[in-house]
């Protein structure tokens, strides 16, 4: 039995009359890290929103562990073990740091992650657990967002531009923690603007361009020129 964790089959997405994704096919295997790259507005966030159940899809367009999940509500998808660190962090401002993490654990899945494990990884959060999340620096907020997703003990975690708006040194810190996270047997999908960083941590890459997959391959096999062409739509 092939270990396909998630498969997208001709995934479309619409915002009203505007179509943001066109027939996207994708396959994610258990335990791998894939990166999704593409210019601003290419549809990366829309892709992740679709997987998490926040967009309207047909059942067969998204398959998880062999079952069609395209029509499930977002909370049902969450209970199946798909979590997201959303673009811009999007913490709950009226909740304390600890409450943000506890909300992440709402699905009640068992696994390696718990409040104390998250605090072990990001000790600063333990020190500030009673504070409101907005009192933290951008990097610390990102730690909360990551911790909140981990609290669900997901088997697939989606990261949407975790380095957006953070200082380079902070980004390095967060990327240093990434192997620890993914090392716990998790599968990850990473959306990133910083292409070289994305390629470093992932084994396969998909490039989106105006809502379509313009390139896919193993990170070792795709060249810079391939990526530039796929990214900017340079045609020859």
């Amino acid at each position: 039995m092939p270990d396909t964790l998630l498969a997208l089959n001709g995934l479309d997405a619409h915002y009203g009359d505007f179509q943001a994704l066109f027939g996207v096919d994708m396959e994610v295997h258990a335990g791998e890290v894939i990166s999704i790259i593409g210019a601003n507005g290419a549809g990366k966030t829309t892709l992740m929103r679709s997987i998490t159940g926040l967009m309207r899809n047909t059942a067969e367009q998204i398959n998880h562990l062999g079952q069609p999940i395209g029509r499930l509500r977002a909370d049902q998808v969450a209970h199946r073990g798909i979590a997201m660190v959303p673009e811009g962090r999007q913490l709950f401002p009226s909740l304390s740091i600890e409450e943000n993490l506890l909300v992440g654990g709402k699905v009640g899945r068992t696994g390696p992650w718990s409040l104390s494990k998250v605090y072990d990884m990001f000790p600063i959060l333990a020190e500030r657990k009673g504070q409101k999340s907005m009192s933290l620096s951008g990097g610390q907020q990102q730690m909360v967002a990551i911790g909140r997703a981990l609290m669900a003990n997901p088997d697939l975690i989606l990261f949407d531009e975790i380095s957006l708006g953070l200082a380079p040194v902070v980004i390095s810190d967060i990327y240093k923690a990434l192997p620890d996270i993914i090392g716990e047997g998790m599968t990850a999908m990473l959306v990133e603007q910083d292409i070289s960083r994305a390629l470093q941590v992932s084994s396969r890459v998909y490039c989106l361009q105006e809502g379509r997959v313009s390139l896919e391959g193993r990170t070792g096999d795709v060249s810079r020129d391939d990526i530039t062409a796929a990214y900017f739509g340079v045609t020859t």
């Binding site: 979590a83 401002p93 709402k106 699905v107």
Partner: protein
């Protein structure tokens, strides 16, 4: 002098009832940004349920709470999931129109079932009992109402800030999409919030029905008092809502003391002054 002190104290106690009118309104707005125009009619509906229950079972209206609170909570859950959830979205008009329609439907249903004759819940001896405190005669019922209001607000505050249910309310209120991907079923959370709001409404309705006579048309006035208490106190702050109710109650009793015809007017004027000077109310929520 004593007369004025008396008016103020009576106003404070009346404020407890207004806070109970307001609490459900505030809770619903806080969790789902829904302004429930039918809120006052639901209070009156609860008073009628209290009437039927206490007459049929031959029990005191307070005992009827055992039936009416769960009944109203269940009605709230069904109403939210069956009807109101469908009206919520980016546009604020549909929920206003639908709850306005609901208000009309409830009033007409009550007219059909109970006629327009004024009714009253008979609270027995408690209605006329009073305590002498420092030269003031304080009615036991108003004192009890105020005490219940404090307990209800404290309970709601505890649910909101110290339980996982409340954490869910606040998370969904902050960011519906993200709360959903954390595993909250928005429709269910909203249903629970409306159930809780209407459970409070049940208490408010029964206390109202013991205090004064009511008929199917009085819901609108209760909505306005509740609404004014919420705005005076500041949106999203439950203790502020109690303060808002007290301020409104005191304004009314002082107005009435000056001239009996000024009771309602004085309340509205204080509301308008607060709105003009502090548009976010006196104690708005501060957590951003």
């Amino acid at each position: 002098m004593m007369e004025w002190t008396n008016a103020i104290v009576q106003g404070v106690l009346l404020g407890g009832l207004y806070a109970l009118f307001a609490a459900g309104l505030s809770l619903i707005f806080g969790v789902m940004r829904l302004v429930n125009i039918a809120h006052g009619d639901l209070i009156v509906l609860a008073a009628y349920f209290g009437l039927t229950t206490s007459v049929m079972l031959g029990v005191h209206p307070f005992a009827a709470l055992m039936v009416v609170v769960p009944l109203m909570a269940g009605l709230g859950y069904v109403l939210q999931r069956g009807l109101l959830n469908r009206t919520l979205g980016d546009d604020i008009l549909p929920p206003l129109l639908v709850t306005f329609g609901l208000s009309v439907i409830i009033q007409n249903a009550l007219l059909e079932s109970y006629s327009s004759d004024p009714q009253k819940l008979s609270g027995g001896a408690i209605e006329t009992a009073s305590l002498q405190i420092g030269g003031l005669a304080l009615g036991v019922l108003p004192l009890l109402t105020f005490g219940i209001a404090v307990v209800v607000i404290a309970l709601l505050q505890w649910i909101f800030y110290a339980t996982s249910l409340g954490r869910g309310f606040r998370a969904v209120s902050d960011n519906q999409d993200i709360a959903q991907i954390m595993g909250f079923n928005k429709a269910h959370v909203f249903g629970l919030a409306m159930a809780l709001a209407l459970a409070v409404t049940a208490i408010a309705g029964i206390l109202l029905g013991i205090r004064t006579s009511f008929d199917p048309s009085v819901g609108g006035g209760r909505l306005i008092f509740g609404f004014e208490a919420v705005i005076i106190g500041g949106l999203g702050n439950l203790w502020g809502t109690l303060a808002g109710g007290v301020i409104l109650g005191v304004a009314q009793t002082i107005g009435a003391k000056i001239d009996p015809g000024w009771q309602l007017l004085a309340g509205h004027i204080v509301f308008l002054i607060v709105l003009a000077v502090r548009p976010n109310g006196l104690f708005p929520r501060v957590d951003h």
